[in-house]
């Protein structure tokens, strides 16, 4: 006995430093590399441009990442349970179109708040639909959400036969423009709030921890008495709802809705989550990491524009930076 007791010692030492480290580790689980990448990126941009590190620009960046930021929260949940959601871009579009159709004077004109609620409800239903295809029909998440991606896009188009709807009340567009307390627009505040709330949920609520368990192994989770199917449906519904919310935010930002909105956003969103350290096989990831991933993409695009880098070269740099940001993490892990 005594022999392995002593073997194990190094593990239990330094507990205070450990705890502090582990709190940080938790928030940005698996995303130290990207976090370093983000910090470096910001440093480089602060030095090489005189505009990057201005309040105004930083607020701009925050406004620019709101849509992807909100979608990435839902995607984090989905990826945590080992799923994937390709339909978020289409759900964003259908929510926008429903909102516009129900709320715009040229169409049903039931007032914008009703339109927003209708859009969000449809979005959540679409997400739930994906969830049910996975849990009740046994489809792989990739196929279920691919199907939903196609169906939701078709429906979004049918609502107005492919036309956009332009012009919403001022109170609505000002949600994303007017900066309260001198700096934060309501949409950005919403994103921050949702991020923090989801972070707390994932860390401190038993249900949040159960999502990690499902992603780690659905079988183990089931054997441990976790209602895997129910939670799975619920996660896809929330992911859909948040995509719908992102659609509402986008509508406020553009003062218009269009059925082709959000094309290709699924890849951006998944990329942000994975850059933030989540694993596509589930069970690994954090909201902090996702926030870092979203910021890396946002800051990078903003910075390259500020530097006046030509659009084609931007694509190359973005690719290289993404690889490097994640690689530092992979190296670290390997070094251990």
């Amino acid at each position: 006995m005594s022999s392995h007791m002593s073997e194990a010692k190094p593990a239990t030492a330094t507990s205070v430093g450990d705890m502090r480290r582990s709190a940080a580790a938790f928030l940005f689980a698996g995303s130290r590399g990207p976090l370093i990448g983000l910090v470096l990126l910001c440093l480089v941009l602060s030095v090489s441009t005189d505009t990057f590190l201005t309040v105004r620009n930083i607020l701009n960046v925050m406004d620019q990442i709101t849509v992807i930021g909100i979608m990435a929260i839902g995607m984090t949940l989905v990826i945590l349970i080992g799923g994937i959601d390709l339909s978020v871009g289409s759900i964003l579009a259908i929510a926008m179109m429903v909102m516009g159709y129900v709320g715009h004077p040229d169409y049903m004109n039931l007032s914008l708040p009703v339109g927003i609620l209708a859009g969000l409800a449809v979005a959540a239903l679409c997400g739930l639909g994906s969830g049910l295809m996975i849990t009740a029909m046994g489809l792989p998440p990739f196929i279920a959400t691919l199907a939903m991606m196609s169906v939701a896009r078709g429906l979004a188009n049918i609502i107005t036969d492919g036309s956009q709807i332009v012009g919403f009340p001022d109170w609505f567009t000002s949600l994303s423009i007017v900066r309260h307390f001198g700096f934060v627009s309501l949409t950005v505040a919403l994103m921050i709030l949702l991020t923090v709330a989801t972070g707390i949920f994932l860390k401190y609520r038993a249900t949040g921890r159960n999502l990690y368990a499902i992603g780690g192994s659905p079988e183990v989770a089931r054997l441990s008495g976790i209602p895997v199917r129910r939670l799975t449906n619920w996660v896809y519904a929330v992911c859909g709802l948040l995509a719908g919310l992102a659609g509402v935010v986008l509508a406020a930002r553009l003062d218009s809705v269009q059925p082709s909105s959000g094309l290709g956003y699924e890849l951006d969103t998944i990329a942000a989550v994975v850059i933030g350290g989540a694993s596509l096989s589930g069970g690994v990831g954090s909201i902090g990491g996702t926030a870092v991933g979203v910021l890396i993409i946002g800051v990078l695009r903003n910075g390259l524009n500020l530097l006046g880098v030509s659009p084609f070269i931007q694509q190359i740099i973005i690719g290289v930076v993404i690889a490097l940001a994640v690689a530092t993490d992979a190296w670290k892990r390997r070094a251990k």
């Binding site: 007791m5 593990a11 239990t12 609520r205 921890r209 990690y212 441990s224 008495g225 209602p227």
Partner: protein, 506 residues
Amino acid sequence: MTVPHTIRQDQTEGSHKGLSVAGLCKSFGPIRVLTDASFDIRPGEVVALLGENGAGKSTVSNIIAGAFRPDSGTISWQGETYAPASPAAAIEAGIGMIHQELKLLPDLSVAENVYVGRMLTRNGIVDRAAMNQNASVQLRRLGLDVSPDQKVRTLRVAAQQQVEIAKALTLNARLLIFDEPTAALGSAETALLFEQIRKLKAEGMSFLYISHRLEEIAGIADRIVVMRDGRVVARHQTADIPIRRIVEDMVGRSVDRMFPPLHPPAERTVLDVRDLTSQDDSFQDVSFSVRAGEILGIAGLIGAGRTELVRAITGADAVSAGTVSVDGEVVRLDGPAAAIRAGMVLVPEDRKLQGVILDQTIGENLALGNQDHVASSGWIWPGAIKDFAEKSIARLGIKGRHDQPAGKLSGGNQQKVVIAKWIARPPKVFILDEPTRGIDVGARAAIYEVIADLARSGMAVIVVSSDLEEVLGLSHRVMVISRGRQRGILDRAEANGVAVMELATS
């Protein structure tokens, strides 16, 4: 072949508040796995469930624990009919289970694994402090002193098994099913586990205890139930039964001597290891050699560094210094491929993660290391895989068809697949890490026979085992490792339990 058995009737059947299983049947597709499983467990009793690999022990257990549904048969529990629809329902009813294959979440912490699915909360907030505290206490009782915040991924197999046990012990269950809890444990850990079981038993808790380590049964069980081919073939009212008798019940015939006779090795050195030091310091400066026809046992406590050593020798992990040579030629240690080309093969410790591909068929798994046998100039015909697989299946008595996924096999049969995979080459150096973990006595004897045969045919064989009797009975010489250092190599004549333990704890 089939020895008729008179089954002693249990007088108290059904009349108690424990568990009563009657006539359970279960098939997986066309394969009938349980034909008639019936037995009782009374409150405060430890019943050992014994049987060969594939006898159906895990299947019965899974039914009781709500993971499978039976095709027919009934269970009563605490005086009422009991038919759990899910593991959650079983846990709710007070029945928990430790599964044979580890069921842990590698990326969650130790404490979270202990409490998965039933996290402690305070005001709706996960109470990490309480979970860490309780988990630590429970784990320390089992002899494991790790931080409850640590990720389970970073733990050794033995420690993971202990976490699994702690998870079950904190369930507050009235009946716990342990499916081979000690397969990965050393004797010290086993003793601590038994202490816990006895304590809980005194509080009225019941246990169904499955193990292939027949020696330990007398020390813990009150009664013994033996299964064969999906039915209960014997019930013993006391655990104090000669192992010989139990084995006969299990395999349906008498089993002779366990360990085959050893032939003297040749003079020629096949494997020579010089000053080998691992990159992560799990062992240092190990030097030894193995001759043709020789079996070298490697003994040591859990975590001594044996697994790391044999993995390094076969190129699976990197080393920082030292050389390994086979037949006088130094082997490049830059990956398993080079080691295999040089004639060294390893049957790894963790069969599920390192030994078999669970989703592939037995035939495909067997073909994996044996392309020379199943392929000609790189072409493989499915028929060749089938023929090859059927030969291997027959040779080791694997219970399964060549086109069955390896994941569907009983644990013991999976292990046989891994061994069979390497036998065919044939290699020059054959290394087995815990070769009989989870393997039934009958098959174990067969594996010993195979190991002795390999040596007789001129291979150099290394057997790493935590089963002391096994190392001693099987080896020409025994090397003892403790805390990453080689403490000595004992000849067969001087190798006995006391001498080995002395070195192992030094």
